[in-house]
Symmetry: C2
Subunit: 171 residues, 2 copies
């Protein structure tokens, strides 16, 4: 069973962003550098499986949380069942799209605990944009689909100091 | 089985926002005006249940999609099992937090299909902020938790014409 527990529970915008970034790094590695290992773990003969990214930057392919409702939003269920019925690239893209969506749902689930002042400061908005645009990196789906760089030039509101250099984004 | 199908599949930022707004209106009604009906449908004796908001502004309490991986991100599973073990208000808040998070995950799942130009225009950013802040209305969790109005005065980037009047938000 996956350890997708909220016993680790970020309480500030900065902690939520740190949590998001660590989970993001984990699943990005699963879908790129560790893709052979990830692919082989998603055996269609096994039970319903999910891809988890954990706040310690590890990834895990596991059955979902036993307890329902779960403590945190759960990633998409049953990715392994789709693996052999699709082109590998299409399957990875599907998993990446669902995983992107899950990362956001976890971040905003934690964010629901922020009070209204914390939710509406300029800093929060900037971090929300960073989360959505993955700090000017490609998001996971785009990482899998294409090597194009996202163009954030139009988003003038993100201060330079918030941007993370491309070199740090290389995993 | 829930009809959480992507056969209805918004393709532009405006369509995604329309989809989000309709689902949002649906679940907000389930958790406020229709709360007695919603509460009674979440019988702990029934199977794993989810709260769905549909793009036609209807809500549904139903077992999850049979097919995995599902076409769209699924709402939290098993809300009915938690109902009788918590204070009613706390249970509704829990469902609201998970539902907020699910609405965002659906919107951003659709958004993953946008190309990089569509994702980074000023209009897209404004709509993202609208989605996250529910157009200056309280979000669902806050609606359930409190009658405080969210203060979006700090978000100068949202043009007045994008804001929806409070009166329209009253369901």
């Amino acid at each position: 069973m996956a350890s997708n527990s909220s016993s680790h529970s970020p309480r500030t915008v900065e902690e939520i962003f740190k949590d998001f970034s660590a989970r993001h790094a984990a699943v990005l590695r699963a879908l790129t550098g560790d893709v052979e290992e990830f692919y082989s773990q998603c055996d269609p003969e096994r039970d319903n499986l999910c891809l988890y990214g954990h706040p310690n930057e590890s990834w895990e392919v596991s059955v979902p949380a036993e307890e329902v409702p779960p403590e945190l939003p759960e990633p998409v269920l049953g990715i392994n069942f789709a693996r052999d019925g699709m082109e590998r690239r299409d399957w990875l893209s599907l998993v990446a799209m669902h995983t992107d969506s899950w990362l956001l749902s976890v971040a905003f689930y934690f964010g629901a605990r922020l009070n209204r002042n914390e939710r509406t400061t300029k800093e929060t908005i900037v971090i929300i944009l960073k989360i959505i645009h993955n700090e000017g990196r490609e998001d996971i789906a785009h990482e899998v689909l294409t090597t194009d760089q996202m163009n954030l030039e139009d988003i003038k509101d993100i201060p330079t100091e918030w941007r993370i250099s491309k070199s740090r984004a290389t995993l």
